[in-house]
Amino acid sequence: MENRIDQVQEVKYTAKDFSSGIDVKWCPGCGDYSVLAQVQKTSPDFGEKRENIVWVSGIGCSSRFPYYMNTYGFHGIHGRAAAIATGVKLANPKLQVWVATGDGDMMSIGGNHFIHACRKNINMKIVMFNNKIYGLTKGQYSPTSERGKHTKSSPYGTVDWPFNPIKVATGSGASFVARSLDRDPKHMQEIITRAAHHKGIAFVEIYQNCPIFNDGAYFPLTEKETKADNIILLEHNKPLVFGANKDKGVKLDGLNPVIIDLNDGVHSINDCWVHDEFDDNPTRVFLLARFTDIPGFPTPVGVFRQFNKATYDIDYVKQIEDVKQKQGEGTYEKLMFKTGTWEVN
């Protein structure tokens, strides 16, 4: 199977080449604008011709995304983006297939398609805009809304426990799992580009602010004053350190992550957990994903894990080629007349 990524690109694109030119109709201040800008900016680096890129989406604010990209696009129905994208990819494995989706679209109504796309390792990229709310339907809680959240459909607070998308993806066997933020363009560009070059399914969760129905959901992670203490950057082979003065770290005490003070005279950077993106064992990914569930812990952003795993599309094509090699290309004669026929004269 050829590796599309290594192909030499004939045309040099700019971000503008990936804009469809139609009016973008998200609410002013929506985090979606940033995702669109970063994707358009990085698209020239995807190593793929524009006509070979397909954006597929479901339903929701984020799912308007394909209309704004000057590539092939398919705006599907609620929850089914991953399944539609799977069909596109298997119909023509040479295409680079992207899915734009939201927390409601992918974690709720599309949950089944999501876990199976991850399990099968279909070679496509899923960018999930997580604003922890249903925006397009005007403000009901979503499967990622925090417990107790007051919304239009939960005036007394939710009693639901939220999904942790990183855990869902990891548990389903996704071979690339990452998170970024709408208000950190540079970081998002890096993560999107790396997802584009991953062979296999890539899941990128983007924390995205909905200024209308869930404004400020991520402010502690994005605002200047609080950011450093609440975000921890995941970088391969680097210790888990955070804080404005890089004076806090996370160490692993058995299976429990513990926050340590690097200036307490007891701990040093050598005690910190060193991130390994290529870890075979998903256990540590689950521990990292848990940080957002433990009060006081920083939110990890970056690539949680990536690993090589045979992809469905490549292996399917290989199986077809193997059978053709062994049995020869199918013909009408072979199909219809091979066995069990008789002649009437």
Binding site: S20, I22, K49, R50, E51, N52, I53, V54, V56, S57, I59, P66, Y67, M69, N70, T71, Y72, G73, F74, H75, G76, I77, R80, A83, I84, A85, T86, G87, V88, K89, L90, A91, N92, K94, L95, N112, H113, I115, H116, Y316, Q319, I320, V323, K324, Q327, G328, E329, G330, Y332, K334, L335, M336, F337, T339, G340, T341, W342, E343, V344, N345
Partner: protein, 609 residues
Amino acid sequence: MAKQVQVVDDVTIRFAGDSGDGMQLAGTQFTDTTAIVGNDLSTVPDFPAEIRAPAGSLAGVSGFSLHFSSSDIQTLGDALDVLVAMNPAALRVNMRDLKRNSTIIVNTNAFDTKNLKLANYSTNPLEDGTLSGYNVIPVELTKVTMATLEDLSLSLKEKEKCKNFFALGLLYWMYNRPLEITEKWLATKFAKKPELLEANKRVLNAGYNYGETTEIFTTRYDVKPAKLPKGIYRNVSGNEAVALGMVVASLKSGLKLFLGSYPITPASEILQELSKYKDYGVVTFQAEDEIAGIASAIGAAFAGNLALTTTSGPGLSLKAEAIGLGVMTELPLVIVDVQRGGPSTGLPTKTEQSDLLQAMYGRHGEAPVVVLAAQSPADCFFMAIEASKIALKFMVPVILLTDGYLAFGSEPLRIPTFEEIPEITVKFRTEPEGFYPYMRDENFVRPWAIPGTPGLEHRIGGLEKKDVYGGISYEPENHQVMTENREKKVEQVVTIIPDVVVDGAEEGELLIISWGSTYGVIKESLKVVRKAGKDVSHVHLQYLNPFPKNLSAILSKFKKVLVPEMNLGQLSMLLRNKYMKELIQLNKMQGQPFKIAEIEKKIYEVLGA
């Protein structure tokens, strides 16, 4: 004593026993041999929903029926001439289908206290007079099978399992069929297990010789070859025929075939069959659910494949929203619905025609699709090709209705040459100059521009699109125009479908209109009533949306119109609505096909005879 040979026109036999008794296998072997000796035939398996119900129980009875004839036949026939009953339960379950004076071959070894009790017999029906009036042939099938294999080192269980071939051999003798075809099959099947090959061969021959030498058999029967049109034939079931037809459509169109499907009775065999054809490049995606099955097919259609999804009633319900997406995006898509008894889980292994209105209208919004229906197992082959052709030509979802009876039933297919099959021409749009995604040709068909084509990058989706240009549009007038365009496109299909042909007089007292799998039984009923001098005409519909354009004129020429259906009157409703014509209904909802006698009786009733 010399045995008599009696020539008969047609015979219906049934092999019946436990699910594990190998009845389907014995039946299939008899079918293959019968096909090759040149009879016309029709087969139907009847198996329980349970995979392996307890041995000897009524729930576990599995049957295989075969009707073969020296003339052209379309259906099974109402009643059995011969029943092979491997145990008391098989006898009890099948008694009601027997003709008077028919032959029952019973395995007496299985008629022990335990099995009699399992079949709810308080006394032994072989001894208490239950079977008086039938020609009962008691055979110690298990015992003679074991005796035949005494010197072989196989286990007792392996030996006992050969008894279906004893019954098969016996029937080969009774109907004067050669053993070679089954022997050849055995040689391939057990090429690596010489002892099993020897055992089955020996038992098959023992059964044959048993008929030849035992005095209880006085007569053997001869069914002469049928005069079928010249050509090369093969036997096909409906599900197999759909799969073959789709592969042929792929070859004809030059498009890769993509199937997105989720296993469901009675449609799963199409998925299984197509998964074999990797040498044709066929992609079978066994999806996580019914919705993913169709959603992936829509994705594949967008990317330029011949896209197919296969299902049965409950699955068609789940796919409804996505079919609407197919209508809106105007992509070619074939949806095969193998109907079963409903609603809900209903009767999964039984047949019904009750999805017609769902196929027509089972979606939100105005969402017209083309609806076709196959009329026989072999016709499934041609209608699958036809469905593909229409979907590709008109960029539209096409629902092909078959049903459980067609899916599992089989009949000979005269294999057409590749040239005899209609051409399917597909032209992808490649020219960027003047391209808009929703521009239309004279048939209201939009261009198919697939990803990978430079300069044609565009976006489609479920939101209403601006006429011609394809951008999102909420304009009131535009929605009206687009809704009407989608409807007109489906109506345009009428221009390429054949006029329907009246079987019988062009005008008269009574016209029967039917669709789907009732074709065979209605044709057989017509033979009967016409023999009795009744003038009845018949129209069978393979195109249900749109209807053939000459249907209206035909309807107007008959005083009475009878519509037999395996539902509560769904075609009747469509016909009444469209043609404002008074109709007489005949509706059967028993999970079983009509019997000839039922149609016949209704015809006499309608004619007042």
